[in-house]
Amino acid sequence: MKPVLLIDFGSTYTKVTAVDVEQGVLLGTADSYTTVESDIGEGLNNALAKLHSKTGELEYQARYACSSAAGGLKMITSGLVPELTAEAARQASLGAGAKVLKVFSFQLTEDDLEEIRAIRPDIFLLVGGTDGGNTECILHNARMLASIDFDFPVIIAGNRTAARECERILAGHEVHVTENVMPKFGVLNIEPARKKIREIFLGRIIRAKGLSKAAEVISGILMPTPSAVMKAMRLLAEGCEGEEGIGDLIAVDVGGATTDIYSMADGMPQDASTVYKGLPEPYDKRTVEGDIGMRYSVRGIVDAAGITRISRLSGLKPARCEELIGLISSSTDMIPEPGSDLEKLDFALASMAIETAVARHAGTMEETYTLMGLTYVQSGKDLRQVRQVIVTGGSLIRTSRTGEIAAHALASAANPMSLRPLKADIRVDRKYILAAMGLLSEYYPVTALRLMKKELEYDGYSEQTNS
């Protein structure tokens, strides 16, 4: 049986992974610098040439691809109450692998319309109201949208009572109606909206992103790259028929501009004395920290962690840290030499990126004294019992101190209210295969799962406690 080729069209790199599905062996991986402007096919050919120089010439039975090229899948959402339907819309979009550029709540204003026009999203997700609940807001927002010129598709996933009327208001545009993201108060129903987003991505975005040429050479499943990673992580956690998963997990992808966090865990209160507050969060939750990244967003890490901690962790003087940070925020393609100051700084930055991003992703616990004694109030997911942490991203793959950096994802005495894992095994995606495995899992889940268990465990399996 011929091997399968998995392609990840990134914004700067095209990555290819070849898998022998019969033997369940990773044949090789390679990447090549690309820009959409040049030609996405060229990047693919270069990456393939690199791959074949290692593996020898290969012929493929199928080529599957995911893409985050041209800025990824840009979305804007609008809901009613910020913590309720607007949050549900954000969760749905993030879960579908989108880059959420703006979340509006309550009624859209003329200024908001200006912003929408300027951003020109790939998809607009319009929600608001529980089924049978508020219709005023979503109808108003549909009318506001209809008053401007736009060419992006709109998904309506709000109060079903108002859905058809919204569709009529937006007649003449590409409109898709699907189930409410919050049909009943406090009930999250984001899968139908996620599915709709992925469908539109397939049908429309590919063309708009200059990927149609690439679409000719691939056999199928184009999805946003984060969506592929999400699939891989879900498979790794839950397992599939014929192969067991590794259980609840957190995955962290520290990039140059953003940091993505995935958690596969129920996360609801573990005992009766804990009261849960706020919207329940999905089992498969993804968050993106747009201000946390190793190069373009290095300032965000400094703002969150403070220069003192970065200086202490890196062992460099604050002034030296500042100097280097200034350098890397403008020369974003700098990669540290072994033993250099930059390597020390990157260690501190990656540690703080993980700590900040996981703390924002995880829930929090508050202690409250009531007349009945001490009570705990939980908001967000309780990840304390999660025992697996998977890390990926250049700064974690290249370093030998992965385990030390990744330990910052764990609970710490300095922030006891943050519900992060108490201890965990750290696994590294040293070959950058997560997205590829997500793609492979569509047709060969057992192979994808076995490969992940093998490849993720292979490098740097360690238990860390960070007390």
Binding site: T130, G133, T375
Partner: protein, 140 residues
């Protein structure tokens, strides 16, 4: 005919869960659609739930004696949030100590609550009051 929607819950740092469950079942049985926020509910949570669900009334329970403090400013917040005129109902052990309930009721009415109920009120009494408040008497 569309069911009337009630948002219910126990306000403040109050964790009395039993009465809340009883009310949930009684109101549901009586034909209301009930959004139950459970215990330790803040004013903002009632209001957010009422906005999304276009609720017809908010029913606040308080069992631990701090109800008066917890309920202060709720009517004004509803007004701010665009829930002008939404019926607000409160009941339970809403104040501490031996006080004449007429005085207590007067104070809660001055705070903008439409009805206030003393300890020992049966669900039936509240349901009747809600039907009256929401103009449902003909169908009952």
């Amino acid at each position: 005919m569309k069911k009337k929607v009630l948002v219910i819950g126990v306000i403040g740092a109050d964790v009395h869960a039993v009465g809340n469950r009883i009310l949930y079942h009684a109101f549901t049985e009586a034909g209301f659609e009930v959004i139950n926020l459970g215990v330790m509910v803040s004013q903002e949570e009632y209001i957010a739930a009422a906005i999304e669900s276009a609720a017809d009334a908010i029913v606040v329970s308080s069992l631990y004696g701090q109800g008066e403090l917890d309920c202060r400013g709720m009517r004004e917040k509803c007004d701010e949030a665009g829930l002008k005129g939404i019926p607000l109902v409160v009941g339970g052990n809403i104040v501490i100590g031996k006080q004449k309930f007429e005085d207590v009721e007067k104070r809660f009415k001055a705070m903008g609550f439409d009805r206030a109920f003393p300890p020992g009120t049966t669900p039936e009494t509240t349901i009747e009051a809600l039907r009256e408040l929401l103009g449902m008497e003909e169908e009952a």
